[in-house]
């Protein structure tokens, strides 16, 4: 396997333009699992560890190379909460938000947060420069994205008027190093409530009907909260696989969404 350790973003983009089949290697916590399980044997890889530009971070723009370990103390509460649930300390020290986005697993722990805050994905290529894509357009299926072969994920951007409250939680079969059975982010602020979920559809998703319903309530009653949970359970589109069943994931989605909403409202 051919390997290029890019010194900076330009060098990485040149390499990618010349080898569109090459895989980007950041933390390696997804790619190396695929390689070790012999699911995937890339012909070449472009290392991103030395690319400092990808580690730039502000409150509204997070570089793709920022690790979970760094994000554990990010001011965005739900992102920090999600970061703390990723893998083990070793995995959090290596794995990056950009890797999570590029892999686009339905269970990606960082993805519901991007969806809940209506984030955009900043992409760049050698020949066409930067383009910014809404998350809904970027994530197109299970581990499938709208990225082009010569592009790199550079950063995630989120809109300026961030909600006052945001909460993340997930259900997994143990307390660390676990793939989410369901994950959820709820935000609440002047613009109302948003609900985003992971592991319950091919891509991260928003429970828009539940959002509309709860946004019509001034002070949600017990019955309204129950209805909210019910609609979330109804809206999600989970599957049954060896990790869980459709019915448990539906139920869990409703439970998490309601709990997080209550936390946001408290």
């Amino acid at each position: 396997m051919e390997f290029v350790a890019a010194k900076d973003l330009d060098e990485a983009l040149v390499a990618k333009a010349n080898h569109p089949d090459a895989e980007f290697l950041a933390g390696g916590t997804d790619l190396m699992v695929e390689v070790n399980l012999a699911h995937h044997r890339p012909s070449s890889a472009i290392g991103l560890r030395r690319v400092d530009e990808l580690r730039e971070m502000t409150d509204l723009r997070i570089g793709a190379g920022v690790t979970w370990a760094t994000l554990e103390s990010h001011p965005h509460r739900a992102l920090a909460q999600a970061a703390r649930t990723v893998g083990s300390p070793q995995i959090r020290a290596a794995g990056t938000l950009g890797g999570n986005i590029g892999t686009a697993s339905p269970a990606g722990d960082g993805l519901p947060w991007i969806a809940a805050l209506d984030g955009t994905i900043e992409l760049r290529s050698k020949d066409r420069g930067t383009r910014v894509m809404p998350w809904r357009e970027f994530f197109v299926g299970v581990k499938r994205t709208a990225i082009l072969p010569d592009e790199a994920i550079v950063a995630v951007r989120i809109p300026e008027d961030t909600p006052a409250r945001q909460e993340f939680a997930k259900i997994g079969v143990r307390n660390a190093m676990v793939i989410s059975t369901v994950s959820c982010v709820v935000t609440h602020g002047d613009n109302g409530t948003t609900v985003a979920l992971g592991s319950v559809a091919p891509t991260p998703m928003r429970a828009t009907r539940a959002e509309e319903m709860i946004n019509a309530e001034k002070n949600p009653s017990e019955a309204a909260l129950a209805e909210f949970a019910r609609i979330v359970s109804e809206e999600v589109r989970p599957i049954t696989d060896h990790r869980s069943t459709e019915s448990y994931r539906r139920h869990g989605a409703g439970v998490l969404a309601r709990r997080l909403l209550e936390r946001c409202l408290s």
Binding site: N36, N175, A176, M177, H242, Y248
Partner: protein, 756 residues
């Protein structure tokens, strides 16, 4: 108890393991060494139509490709039901069909891929109840030709034991209350951290094999049997072992790699991937169905119990022929019952063979029985702990096999564990305490050791025992130092080498310190005796009056005139050397009065260990997610020789038990293939899951068993934890748990069932 300070126990192998300087099997690299890869069946049941290795052999860099046609035509295993390589048929997905040795691992894998392996699929026996149907396909068509000896076999029943004491049917008919329950446990895995490695090197007609084995002498015997070699041509060495938990008991791939090395005419190394570690070895914890019927008298005493047990045996016999008998003992339990009947069958399936994993059969059977026991207590309106006190065995009582117990500490274990966990305290509504009791035998058996002192007064312990991570072998220097008035650091250990040391059965059955400790102490007695003789001649005293203490010898009562042991050792070279040998001879088994058909020798529990585990569990009723908040474990394992090591065994056993209770589960698809042969989807417990574990010992001195009145310890802590968690969840859910593991989703479904 020891004059040596074992409260500051330091493992001699600790620094090696912690710093990475220690060498494991996979670290061994020899000049000219080739790399091995296996071709596996990949299908659970099939008849081989083509097996052509010509193309694989033609690949440059391939040194040897072997199939069953290239090795002696010998069947092995408890009932001799398998060959080294698949012959004519394959019976589980992880069966080895062919082996390749090549210049590197990638070339070896390419050669494996180039082997032409074609087959006709056969029906898959994938369900232990369906396997007993009269028209069920047979996993072994020719089972009647196997060498079953005292093992009861019948078609897909690989081993059956029927136990009868008193008259269970009559007693059930007379009982005031009869309670029935059915419990189903999934298969699971030992999952040691080190995937195994094997390296073989021939020099002339002798082969040395380095292997990740818990039982080097058994591995040697397997090589000798299958390759038709005498023991003096086979040497097994185990470098550091990265855990076993039973998964590395038995004979596995040592002969395959030895045969490859001979054919390749160079050393060969095999290193397993995690996936192979899950799929291939004949060691998995068996799935089990337990059906219990218990008759109660109105005073809460147990009148009778019947048990029907089916075990998922997998495709081959491994060491598991005793499992039905052992499972029956645990389904009947450490209770006073005069009328019992158990019919327990291990059933062949087209799945990975089952084999001894830590306390084989006990965690599942104990989980079933103890869940059932809480149902019994509820049925007679008794507190479940009071019910166990009333019916549990005690000193002088007769158990389910008619064995009358000498001094034992079960009742005190119940007291200590329940008091420690706060049983009876008012808890939040989402918390409950569950309690379970368990038992497990000690296994006294043959074991040998040498001890020598060299002329500078430093010593070497040469032992046949195997260190599988428990610290049992690491405790031996403390025992020897204690006898000789020296320090543990004065001794080197030579171990895990079949050509250096006398026999030991290996790190299996919790028997290492139990047996080898006796042998090693006996060896050191001989040295102590020689040292006293030498000192006596120098001090002009009687040998019996010489005290060995603080590295010196002195006459009792005159500590000021002391001779350093190093000086005695120098002198010893001129007067016959300081060499001791010891061999443990097993005492006879305790008597029983039970009748056993298909007797596999475990009706009698020598040095029986008892335990009570009490757990506090918090349940999220919305999701079924359970969290174990605290565990209090009390154990009667006789005298505790090494408190740090023993507590470590209990903590590890409890944590393994929590995994069995909540997350560890091997799933199969409808073709008999594992769905989750990876740590990504087979969930062990992590530190983030581990609760505080409080360990207490009831030290009942037990004669004729282990050193200084000890019983065994390593497996017993793995028996009762899942059962205790089950009982806590049963209280919180309002229904007994019927499936193991009790995953969040299963618990949630039980909650739904109560609600509807």
């Amino acid at each position: 108890m020891l004059s040596v300070d074992i409260s500051k126990f330091l493992r001699a192998d600790g620094p090696d393991k912690v710093t990475g300087s220690g060498r494991y099997s996979a670290d061994i690299s020899l000049t000219g060494m080739a790399h091995a890869k296996f071709l596996y069946a990949g299908v659970a049941s099939a008849r081989i139509t083509t097996l052509d290795t010509a193309a694989a052999k033609a690949i440059p860099g391939v040194f040897a490709v072997l199939t069953q046609a290239d090795v002696p035509d010998i069947r092995f295993g408890s009932v001799a039901d398998r060959y080294l390589f698949a012959k004519d048929v394959v019976r589980f997905e992880g069966e080895v069909v062919a082996a390749v040795a090549a210049v590197d691992a990638d070339t070896a894998q390419r050669a494996v891929d180039a082997i032409v392996f074609e087959y006709d699929a056969l029906p898959v026996v994938n369900d232990i109840e369906a396997a007993l149907e009269p028209d069920a396909p047979l996993v072994h068509e020719d089972w009647e030709s196997y060498s079953a000896r005292r093992i009861v076999m019948d078609r897909n029943i690989a081993s059956q034991t029927i136990l009868t004491l008193g008259d269970a049917d009559a007693a059930l008919a007379d009982a005031d209350l009869v309670i029935e329950g059915r419990y189903i446990a999934d298969a699971s895995h030992a999952a040691p951290i080190e995937p195994r490695g094997v390296v073989a090197q021939w020099e002339g007609d002798k082969v040395t094999i380095w292997t990740s084995s818990q039982v080097p002498f058994q591995a040697r015997d397997g090589v000798c049997e299958t390759l038709e070699l005498p023991t003096n041509r086979v040497r097994i060495i185990v470098p550091h072992l990265g855990g076993g938990f039973g998964g590395k008991c038995g004979f596995h791939y040592e002969a395959h790699i030895a045969a490859l090395a001979r054919a390749a005419r160079r050393p060969v190394r095999l290193v397993f991937s995690r996936r192979e570690e899950f799929l291939a070895p004949d060691r998995r914890r068996e799935g089990m169905i337990v059906e219990l019927t218990t008759g109660l008298r109105s005073d809460g005493t147990i009148a009778a119990r019947k048990a029907r047990i089916l075990l998922d045996y997998g495709a081959y016999s491994s060491d598991a022929t005793f499992f039905p008998h052992m499972a029956a003992m645990h389904a009947l339990g450490p209770y006073k019952i005069d009328n019992v009947y158990a019919e327990s069958s291990a059933v062949y399936t087209n799945r990975q063979p089952s084999g001894s994993v830590r306390a084989p059969t006990a965690p599942q059977a104990c989980w079933a029985l103890e869940t059932h026991t809480d149902e019994l207590a509820a049925a007679v309106g008794m507190d479940p702990v009071a019910f166990r006190r009333l019916n549990g065995v005690d000193t002088g009582a007769s158990g389910v096999s008619g064995q009358v117990f000498d001094a034992i500490g079960l009742q005190e274990c119940i007291t200590l564990a329940t008091e420690d966990v706060g049983y009876g305290d008012v808890l939040p509504g989402d918390e409950a305490i569950g309690v379970a009791i368990g038992w497990w035998p000690s296994f006294p058996g043959a074991s040998g050791a040498y001890v020598k002192l060299d002329s500078d007064g430093k010593g070497v312990i040469v032992t046949g025992a195997q260190e599988c991570g428990t610290g049992a072998v690491m405790t031996l220097p403390y025992l020897v130092a204690n006898e000789l008035g020296m320090q543990p650091e004065d001794f080197e250990l030579v171990y895990q080498d079949t050509s250096a040391a006398p026999y030991d059965v290996g790190a299996t059955g919790s028997q290492t310190l139990l047996n080898n400790g006796i042998a090693t102490i006996e060896a050191s007695y001989q040295i102590a005796s020689r040292l006293r003789e030498i000192a006596a001649s120098m001090l002009e005293a009687e040998a019996d009056d010489i005290v060995l203490e603080n590295g010196h010898a002195h006459v009792d009562g005159s500590p000021d005139t002391a001779i350093p042991i190093a000086r005695l050792a120098r002198r010893a070279n001129h007067t016959g050397m300081l060499i001791g040998k010891g061999a443990r001879i097993a005492p006879p088994d305790p008597k029983t009065s039970i009748s056993a058909i298909g007797d596999q020798g475990v009706s009698s529990f020598a040095g029986p260990q008892f335990s009570c585990h009490a757990v506090r569990v918090k349940l999220d009723r919305d999701t079924g997610v359970a969290r174990v908040l605290a565990v209090s474990a009390a154990h009667d394992s006789g005298t505790i020789v090494n408190p740090i090591g023993a507590a470590g065994q209990v903590e590890g056993g409890v944590l393994m038990g929590i995994g069995q209770a909540l997350t560890e589960r091997t799933e199969y698809d409808d073709k008999g293939r594992q769905v989750n042969p990876a740590l990504l989807d087979y969930k062990l417990q992590t530190f983030a899951d581990a609760p505080p574990i409080s360990v207490q010992f009831v030290e009942v001195f037990t004669p004729d068993m282990g050193p200084h009145g000890a019983k065994a310890i390593a497996e017993a802590p793995n028996v009762a934890t899942a059962a205790a968690i089950s009982n806590a969840l049963g209280k919180l859910v309002g229904l007994p748990m019927r499936e193991l593991p009790m995953t969040s989703e299963r618990v949630w479904r039980a909650i739904q069932a109560v609600g509807s």
